[in-house]
C-alpha cells in the first residue's frame, strides 16, 4: 500500500455567525467536525453526501483554502494546518482545485491565456511569451484547440469552460487536485468526455484526486475509495467496490437506493428500498448522539444517548454507526474468508 499523500487528523472547520440585537450571540456552524481522511498517492478519493453535508468545506480546508479551526493536516508527512506566508504559497503549488460552477470560476474579463497563465505569473514569474507557450501546451493537454487562447469565457460552452478550469489547476504540476463536482453543471454526454480526460491526466501526471460529488454513479466509476459524509462527519468509508457491494451504514444504503438508475442490472446492486424521511438538519443544532438519528430507520435507544465512533469493522471499511458495529460480529469471518 502506498503512503498517504494527504491525511487529516481530527480536522474541524467551524464558521461563526453572530446574531441578536447587538450581535452578541454567537452561533457555531460545524461544517466539518473532527474528520480523519487520507488520500494515498495516485488514488482517487471520493467525498459524497447531500448538500449541506460539509464535503466541499472539507475539500477546501484540506488544501488550506480555508484555515482549519482545529486539527492537523499532513501533506507528505509535513503538517500544513497552520503554515502561513511564503511557506503556504509554496505548498499551494502542490494542491490545486477545480471548482463546481465553471461559469463563475472563470473571470469574465480575462481571456483564457490570462486565466490559465495567472498561476505561472504568481508562482514562477514567467515572461508573457513563456506563459503563452505553456498555456498552449496545457490547452492541447485538455483537448482544446489552440485558438481558444484569446477567447473570453462567455464564448465557451460549459464543457469547454470546465476544461479550462482543469488546465488552470494543472498549470503548476500539482500533486493533489481537489475536484468539486466538476461535472454537475454538464450534460451526461459531455460529462463522460470530461471524466475520461480527468482519468487520462491522472495516469499521465501521477495525480491524486479528491473528487467531491453527489452523483454516486460517477463515483462508482472513477474512484478508488469513497467517503460518505453527513452533517460534517464521516458516516462510512471504504474502497469503492466494497462500499457498493456491501453498504453498511443506513445513510449509505438510503443514498444508494435513491439513485435514479436506468437498467435492471443496476437494480441488483441497490439495497432494499429506503426512502429517507425529512431533510438534513441544520448544522447549527446538530442532534445529540448519532447525527443521523432524525432520519434513521434502524435507530435504537443507544443512538440517542451516545455518539458513535468511526470504527474499522473490516479491512479498510470504516463505519460510524452503533447498529452496524453490534451486528457486524459475524462479519469479520466473512471478510476473512474472501480476502486471501
Amino acid at each position: 500500500m502506498s503512503q498517504a499523500l494527504i491525511r487529516t487528523e481530527g480536522l474541524c472547520k467551524y464558521f461563526f455567525r453572530s446574531s441578536g440585537l447587538l450581535q452578541r450571540r454567537e452561533q457555531v456552524i460545524k461544517a466539518a467536525d473532527a474528520v480523519d481522511v487520507a488520500a494515498r498517492a495516485g488514488e482517487t478519493l471520493a467525498l459524497v453526501g447531500e448538500s449541506g453535508s460539509g464535503k466541499t468545506t472539507l475539500g477546501k480546508t484540506m488544501i488550506r483554502i480555508y484555515k482549519p479551526t482545529k486539527g492537523k493536516i499532513w501533506f507528505n508527512e509535513e503538517d500544513i494546518s497552520s503554515i502561513v506566508g511564503a511557506k503556504l504559497k509554496k505548498h499551494r503549488q502542490y494542491m490545486q482545485m477545480v471548482f463546481q460552477d465553471p461559469t463563475s470560476a472563470l473571470n469574465p474579463r480575462k481571456t483564457v491565456v490570462d486565466i490559465v497563465g495567472l498561476p505561472l505569473k504568481i508562482h514562477q514569474k514567467l515572461s508573457r511569451s513563456a506563459r503563452r507557450a505553456r498555456v498552449r501546451d496545457l490547452l492541447e493537454m485538455v483537448e482544446l484547440p489552440a485558438d481558444f487562447l484569446y477567447r473570453y469565457p462567455h464564448a465557451l460552452s460549459g464543457g469547454q469552460k470546465q476544461r479550462v478550469g482543469v488546465a488552470r489547476a494543472l498549470t503548476l504540476n500539482p500533486l493533489l487536485v481537489v475536484l468539486d463536482e466538476p461535472t454537475s453543471a454538464l450534460d451526461v454526454s459531455v460529462q463522460a468526455k470530461l471524466l475520461a480526460l480527468l482519468e487520462r491526466l491522472r495516469g499521465q501526471f501521477k495525480l491524486t484526486y479528491v473528487y467531491i460529488s453527489h452523483d454516486l454513479g460517477v463515483v462508482r466509476n472513477i474512484s478508488d475509495r469513497t467517503v460518505v459524509m453527513y452533517l460534517g462527519q464521516i458516516m462510512e468509508a471504504a474502497p469503492t467496490a466494497e462500499l457498493f457491494k456491501r453498504p453498511l451504514h443506513p445513510y449509505t444504503k438510503a443514498l444508494l437506493s435513491a439513485i435514479p438508475i436506468i437498467s435492471d442490472e443496476e437494480q441488483d446492486i441497490i439495497p432494499e428500498e429506503i426512502t429517507l424521511k425529512g431533510e438534513i438538519p441544520s448544522p447549527l443544532d446538530v442532534p445529540p448522539g448519532c447525527r443521523f438519528i432524525s432520519r434513521c430507520q434502524e435507530k435504537t435507544s443507544i443512538c440517542k444517548s451516545e455518539e458513535p465512533q468511526l470504527i474499522e469493522i473490516a479491512n479498510d471499511h470504516y463505519v460510524n454507526c452503533h447498529q452496524c458495529f453490534s451486528s457486524s460480529q459475524q462479519l469479520p469471518e466473512e471478510v476473512a474468508a474472501q480476502s486471501p
Binding site: 447531500e50 460529462q191 468526455k193 454516486l216 454513479g217 466509476n221 439513485i259 435514479p260 442490472e265 446492486i269
Partner: protein
C-alpha cells in the same frame, strides 16, 4: 383518448444574428392517464416545447411557423386569448423547474396559494373579496392547509404562514406541486421539477408525483434530462435532439434496446452502478441559426451515411408504439 397532441410544430426565433430554427417538426402525444417523458440534453428544445404548450413563450422573438397543438380537440394555437385561457385554466397545470425562484418572496405560502384558490377558473372577483373583506367561494386558508397536507408537508398550518425563504428546496417544490394540483387539472406539465434537489429529496418528490398521478388520474408531460428519473415515472419516452424528436418508445423498450444512434450514445454516456464502461458523444449540440442539413445529428453520428447529410429523416413507425427518425430505419431497411 389523446389529451395532448402536437403535430409538426415548427418554431423559429428572430435574433440579431439571424433566424434560429429551434423546433423542427416536433410531434408528440399524451394519452389519458399516461406519463410521458420528454428527455434531452441542454438546448434541445424541451423547455421551448413546454412553454409553447403553456402559451408562455414570448412572441416575438419566437414565432410559430407551422403546426398544431391539440388539447382535448381544441387547437391551442388558433383559439383566441380568452378561450385559450379558459381551456387551460380548467384543465392544464404546470410545475416549474426552479423551486428557489418560482415562488414570490414577499408573500407567505398561504397568501400565494390563497390567490390561486380564489382566482381558479375565474376571470374576475368582486371588490370586497379582492380586498379580503368577504369570504369567497372557498375558505382559502383552510383549503391551502388541506392541499399542503396532501403533499405530505409536516405541520401545514405552520407552513402557510411562512415565507418561501424559510423553506428548504424540497419543501418549496412540494408547495409548487400542491399549487399545481389546486384546480384538479387533467394535464400536468412538469419541467425538470427535481433538477435542483438532492437525490434523497428527489426520490421523495418523485414518489409524491407518482401517487398524485394515480390518485387524480393525471396525464403528465414530464420534461427531464435524466433518463433514470424518466425510467421511474414514465410509461413512454420521447428523446429530443436539436429541436427534433429522435425516437419514441415505451420506457422499457427504449432503455433496453435503443435504436436511434443518439439515444444509444445518451444511454452509453450515463455512468452505471455496475461499473461498466461509459463514453460520451463527440462534438456539441447544433447551432440553431445554421443547423446541419439533413439529419441534425449527422455531424456527431457514429453511423453517418451519405443520405443523412442530404435528406431529413422522417419519424417512422418501426415497431408497435415505436417511432424513430433515422435513415438507418426508414424505408423498412433496418440495420
Amino acid at each position: 383518448m389523446t389529451v395532448l397532441g402536437i403535430a409538426k410544430l415548427k418554431i423559429h426565433f428572430d435574433t440579431i444574428d439571424g433566424t434560429a430554427e429551434v423546433l423542427d417538426d416536433v410531434c408528440l402525444s399524451v394519452n389519458e392517464a399516461e406519463v410521458v417523458g420528454l428527455v434531452g440534453e441542454t438546448g434541445c428544445g424541451k423547455s421551448v416545447t413546454a412553454k409553447t404548450i403553456l402559451g408562455s413563450l414570448p412572441m416575438p422573438p419566437g414565432k410559430v411557423l407551422d403546426g398544431k397543438i391539440l388539447f382535448f380537440g381544441d387547437d391551442l394555437l388558433r383559439l383566441d386569448k380568452r378561450d385559450r385561457h379558459r381551456v387551460m385554466s380548467e384543465k392544464m397545470s404546470y410545475i416549474p423547474q426552479d423551486p428557489m425562484t418560482s415562488l414570490n418572496p414577499v408573500f407567505t405560502v398561504g397568501e400565494q396559494m390563497g390567490d390561486l384558490i380564489r382566482w381558479q377558473g375565474r376571470r374576475r372577483i368582486g371588490p370586497l373579496e379582492f380586498l379580503g373583506l368577504r369570504r369567497g367561494r372557498h375558505n382559502s386558508v383552510a383549503k391551502a392547509v388541506q392541499l399542503l397536507d396532501r403533499v405530505e408537508i409536516p405541520a401545514p398550518k405552520e407552513i402557510v404562514r411562512r415565507y418561501p425563504i424559510e423553506l428548504s428546496g424540497g419543501m418549496r417544490q412540494r408547495v409548487l406541486i400542491a399549487m399545481a394540483l389546486i384546480g384538479r387539472p387533467s394535464l400536468l406539465i412538469a419541467d425538470e421539477p427535481t433538477t435542483a434537489l438532492d437525490v434523497t429529496i428527489q426520490k421523495g418528490i418523485l414518489k409524491l408525483i407518482e401517487e398524485k398521478v394515480e390518485e387524480e388520474e393525471l396525464s403528465v408531460l414530464y420534461i427531464t434530462h435524466n433518463l433514470g428519473v424518466a425510467r421511474r415515472l414514465c410509461n413512454r419516452i420521447y428523446v429530443m435532439y436539436g429541436g427534433t424528436i429522435a425516437e419514441t418508445a415505451r420506457t422499457k423498450d427504449l432503455l433496453k434496446a435503443p435504436m436511434h444512434p443518439y439515444t444509444c450514445g445518451l444511454i452509453r454516456s450515463i455512468p452505471k452502478l455496475t461499473g461498466d464502461e461509459f463514453k460520451g458523444i463527440d462534438g456539441r449540440i447544433p447551432d440553431y441559426i445554421d443547423p446541419p442539413t439533413g439529419c441534425r445529428f449527422h455531424p456527431r453520428c457514429p453511423q453517418v451515411m451519405e443520405i443523412c447529410e442530404q435528406e431529413k429523416p422522417e419519424l417512422v413507425k418501426v415497431e408497435e408504439d415505436r417511432l424513430v427518425a433515422c435513415h438507418l430505419f426508414s424505408r423498412g431497411g433496418g440495420r
